[in-house]
């Protein structure tokens, strides 16, 4: 069982966390002005890279805070974690 470093609580067992998919996918400013295709891109399309991936996690079973993490999808290694209001760090 992996340890995930919560930026608020420190390293905790992965079962305490809830996965939230890709990070930095902002809700569109004005959804009504988007074409169907652009809206569908927001709703349904996500990157699925092999390697470092910025994603959202929530420390559900503890502080209940959402945060961002950069995780290597090939090794599961968490390369960085940062709070929602922090800029994406440069890893690698």
């Amino acid at each position: 069982m992996q340890l995930i470093p919560c930026p608020w609580c420190g390293p905790r067992d992965e079962v305490e966390f809830h996965y939230g998919g890709a990070a930095h996918v902002a809700y569109p400013e004005d959804p009504q002005s988007l074409t169907d295709e652009d809206w569908a891109r927001y709703v349904f399309f996500r990157d699925n890279p092999k390697g470092p991936f910025a994603e959202r996690w929530c420390h559900t079973a503890s502080c209940r805070r959402w945060f961002n993490a950069i995780r290597d999808t090939a090794t599961h290694q968490v390369l960085a974690v940062y709070r929602m209001d922090e800029a994406k760090p440069v890893t690698s």
Partner: protein
């Protein structure tokens, strides 16, 4: 003393004889024996017959790697699939051999199983020479150390040998080491504990067998087995190595055994495994077994060394004892039935065995080399490489905070193991930033120097060329042979993983500990590839079998999942309610009276609600309080309809959708104050909706000043339903104006009800005049009993979830999650009215405009009335247009989502999702009921009181 038990050797307790029964015969052994050592001491080699061919099979090893000796234990509690080599003997043990398959107990297991969590600086797996040195070195520095070992006592390989450390018998050094470890406060030594899984970040699972070895004497208060969940900053793997055999024809005859295992039986258990032995080897290690057995009085007829040259030092030792050494020879086969009686020996010339001769023996010892036990290392993601000199796979990559020491990394000599352990601990301590304390490293006796490298020989060519490989067993438990491997490669398979699945080699209880690499080697030979390139099959947890009972631990029965009950639960139990699980909640489903089944009880409860008054415990409804200056703004963004316009004192129904426009929950919203709302969710959705709201608040709209609080448990809620509900409420809330003008539909009032403070809502989930009375959980019983008493003259009737479902379905109110499945929009539910056209945006709005959401043939929620009015459609039944079902694929129009008997309609009815359903109203469709198709009429979803006349009483 028997012929096979030596009087002066071994660590068994001769003062404690133990009687046991095997395959129906009584035997005697000693405390400290395993079932296998006790059987061997009684001259019993055959433990069972094989699963496919019914061939006699014996004990091959002395540890968990044994592929053969599967037994069923009957006492004190039946347990299948244990290995005789790991079952510790106890008085009254009854066991029998298994042909590959065991039998689970039919009665419940009375034993307890539990789990422990432990954190440490250094976890050492294996208490052999390397592991003990590592643990000592780490512990002396003050580190928190856990040392695990699967045996009843520490020592590892030293338990089965005669080596010296610091000029004393090695086991004296072991004893002193364990005593020192036990004296240190930060050290925990766990014996009978097998590390079976190594996961990420130093997380190791281990199984401790706490009372198995006590048999009938096991104290009841102790858990039988315990799973240790260990988290270590550094893990030292000192897991040792497994000896592997060489494969030859009829290599499965009882009496054929791994050489070092026979040595272990001799030194550790004082058991001589036979009277006349032949030793077949490809490396030096088996010579020690030959010499030790000869010194113990066994006749060793010959050492057959496949290498062209035998090691000079060992050859001399053999000569001293009159043991013939035949180098350049191999064992090609055996004779015998229940026991080997002759080994067939032939010279190996250019890889071909020449003319064979027989050597009589009742014990055939084999050594094909040693496989480092890399299982845990590999599980943790470590890479392996093939070591040509050892003929084995060894750890090749480095894992962070993991060190492999001793035989587990291919260091087989004692001096190397002792040095390795110390270095591993130093590496761990350096990583932890701890200095290493002093201490003299242990010094072993000198080992035999050898110039002869081990020979890698997977299999001896089969002299029977007609049926080559047919009796050359690779995986004895699976009865899989060299011929099977060749059949696999002949079928074009190259991957060792594919060959494993094709032949089943390595899939039994032992997971190929002795056979896996032989299979890889054979595949490599057969497809002319390098074994280094083919690699091994994947090592997966568990290292040894772990029972589900142990994994479940205390999480069994009613402890399996938390049970949530309302403050009224005990009253419901006393009233004889039949309960159903809704999420983790226990909810009364119906309240049967004497002689009633569910249908009868529900019809009665429904009539009471529609004709007089009835009440239900609705406390499980999810309740979330939303507070803050931006509370109304948040709700406007999340609900499809407008909430900010709701006035204090009023209630509004609302639906939430995902960004894809699909309904995810519905409920009511009460405005408690300008900046305070209380919303309700579907019982099973409360946590999910709180998560959903928090997610948007934290990730998209952190600028909104809103707090969310789950208040589900703070409030007990009783629904008071029916034309007489107002009269009953008036009796228990004399100060509350309950008439329709003072207290209209979809408003709430604070009032004293039954003498306790309450929040009363005029909400209806049945279409009847109804109230929901919310009180503190502490006051729930007072409220419930007061309502029962006040309603007595009206025949007030408690009802459960089943009646609630019938009442709501009669009104066409959907349950999100039952009548929807994540592909249903509010419009599909016929609830366009709940979707705001004024709000510029809310979650889901943009998706409603997608072409897919505009299709005329989307599935709509409709009512169904079976033409034959008493047929109850099964929920989930498919609907078709034509009763003449042609060949598949048959076009399905939808399915039944809810189906009940209605007292009010005096008929059965259903809700269904049907393609273009609203355009089919009045049409006849057909629904499956068992093997039949029955006609049903599509109807509006609101089947009862469609004009809403009953709402205000």
């Amino acid at each position: 003393m028997s012929l096979y038990r030596l009087p002066d050797r071994g660590r068994v307790d001769r003062s404690t004889p133990v009687t046991f029964t095997y395959n129906g015969s009584p035997y005697t052994g000693y405390a400290g024996d395993t079932l296998a050592s006790a059987l061997l001491a009684n001259g019993v080699h055959q433990v069972t017959t094989s699963i496919k061919y019914g061939r006699p099979r014996g004990i091959m090893a002395a540890g968990p790697e044994d592929p053969n000796a599967l037994v069923q234990v009957e006492t004190p509690f039946p347990e299948p699939m244990l290995t005789a080599t790991t079952v510790e003997l106890y008085d009254g043990l009854v066991a029998s051999g298994l042909s590959g398959q065991g039998r689970l107990a039919t009665e419940p297991d009375p034993a307890r199983y539990d789990a422990m969590h432990q954190h440490c600086d250094v976890l050492v797996v294996g208490a052999g020479p390397a592991g003990l040195t590592a643990a000592l070195t780490a512990a002396r520095s003050g580190a928190r150390v856990v040392l695990l070992d699967d045996q009843p006592e520490a020592g590892g390989s030293l338990l089965g040998t005669t080596e010296l450390i610091d000029d004393r018998p090695a086991l004296e050094w072991v004893e002193a080491a364990v005593a020192e470890l036990d004296s240190l406060p930060e050290v925990r030594v766990l014996s009978r504990t097998t590390a079976f899984g190594f996961y990420d970040d130093g997380f190791v699972l281990a199984l401790e067998r706490r009372t198995d070895h006590l048999g009938f004497a096991a104290p009841e208060h102790l858990s039988r087995q315990r799973v240790w969940r260990l988290r270590a900053k550094h893990v030292v793997l000192a897991t040792g190595a497994h000896e592997r055999p060489v494969v030859f024809a009829d290599n499965d005859r009882p009496g054929t055994m791994l050489a070092a295992s026979a040595r272990t039986y001799l030194h550790r258990y004082g058991v001589r495994c036979g009277q006349r032995a032949v030793v077949f080897t490809t490396n030096d290690s088996a010579y020690q077994a030959a010499v030790d057995l000869a010194d113990a009085g066994l006749e060793v007829a010959a050492v057959i060394d496949a290498r062209p040259q035998s090691p000079a030092g060992w050859a001399a030792e053999c000569a001293e004892r009159g043991i013939e050494v035949r180098s350049g020879h191999v064992v090609t086969g055996t004779t015998g039935h229940e026991r080997v009686i002759r080994a067939h020996v032939a010279q190996l010339t250019d890889g071909r065995p020449q003319l064979r001769s027989g050597i009589g023996c009742d014990l055939l010892l084999v050594s094909g080399g040693w496989n480092p036990a890399v299982h845990l290392f590999s599980q943790a993601g470590g890479r392996l490489s093939y070591d040509d000199a050892l003929g084995a796979f060894v750890p090749s990559s480095s894992l962070e905070a993991v060190t492999v020491a001793g035989a587990a990394r291919g260091t087989f000599q004692l001096d190397g193991c002792l040095a390795d352990g110390g270095e591993a601990a130093q590496r761990a301590l350096a990583g932890l930033g701890r200095p290493t304390a002093g201490g003299t490293p242990p010094r072993p006796s000198a080992a035999h120097e050898s110039a002869e490298r081990p020979l890698t020989l997977w299999t001896v060519p089969d002299p029977d060329e007609q049926h080559a490989g047919a009796t050359q067993f690779v995986d004895l438990q699976r009865d899989a042979t060299v011929a099977d491997v060749l059949r696999a490669t002949g079928a074009g398979l190259r991957s060792v993983e594919h060959v494993k699945r094709y032949t089943t080699i390595g899939t039994a209880h032992d997971q190929g500990k002795t056979s896996g690499i032989i299979s890889s080697g054979l595949v490599a030979q057969s497809v002319r590839a390098g074994i280094a390139d083919l690699g091994t099959t994947t090592f997966r947890p568990p290292y040894t079998p772990v029972s589900f009972a142990a994994l479940a631990g205390r999480d069994r029965g009613h402890l399996h999942d938390p049970e949530r009950v309302t403050p009224l639960h005990l009253l419901h139990v006393a009233a004889g309610a039949d309960f159903e699980d809704v999420g983790q909640w226990k909810r009364p489903r119906y309240f049967p009276r004497a002689g009633e089944d569910m249908d009868t009880a529900v019809l009665r409860e429904c009539r009471a609600a529609r004709e007089s008054v009835a009440m239900m415990d609705a406390s499980t409804l999810g309740k979330i309080e939303v507070e803050g200056p931006d509370a109304a703004e948040l709700l406007d963004r999340l609900y499809t309809n407008l909430m900010s316009s709701l006035k204090v004192g009023f209630i509004r129904y609302g639906v939430m959708c995902g960004v894809d426009g699909m309904a995810i929950d519905d409920g009511t919203v009460m405005r408690l104050a300008d900046d305070r709302f209380l919303l309700t969710t579907t019982t099973g959705n409360a946590a999910k909706i709180l998560d959903w709201m928090e997610e948007w608040l934290q990730t998209e709209w952190p600028d909104l000043a809103v707090r969310l609080t789950s208040v589900t448990e703070q409030w007990a809620t009783v629904a008071l339903v029916g034309p007489r509900s107002r009269d009953v409420l008036a009796l228990v809330a004399p100060e509350l104006a309950v008439d329709n003008d003072s207290f209209p539909f979809m408003t709430w009032r604070e009032a004293m009800v039954a003498g306790v403070p309450a929040r009363v809502c005029r909400i209806s989930f049945s279409g009847e005049l109804a109230f929901e009375v919310n009180v503190s959980g502490w006051d729930a019983v007072t409220l419930w009993e007061a309502l029962l008493a006040a309603g007595e003259s009206y025949g007030i009737t408690a009802y459960g979830t089943e009646t609630m479902h019938v009442l709501r379905a009669e009104k066409g109110y959907p349950i999100i999650g039952q009548d929807t499945d994540g592909t249903v929009t509010p419009q599909d539910l016929g609830m366009s009215w709940v979707v705001s056209k004024k709000k510029p945006d809310f979650i889901g709005k943009r998706s409603f405009a997608r072409a897919e959401n505009q299709r005329a043939d989307r599935k709509h929620l409709v009512g169904l009335l079976p033409v034959q009015r008493d047929i109850l459609l099964p929920e989930g039944a498919q609907l078709v247009a034509d009763p003449q079902i042609g060949p598949p694929p048959v076009r399905m129009l939808g399915h039944v989502t809810s189906s009940y008997r209605s007292a009010a309609l005096e008929a059965t009815f259903a809700l269904a999702l049907v393609k273009g359903g609203r355009d089919r109203i009045g049409q006849t469709l057909y629904s499956t009921v068992g093997d039949e198709l029955v006609p049903v009429t599509v109807a509006e979803p609101v089947l009862y009181d469609p004009e809403g006349a009953r709402r205000d009483g």
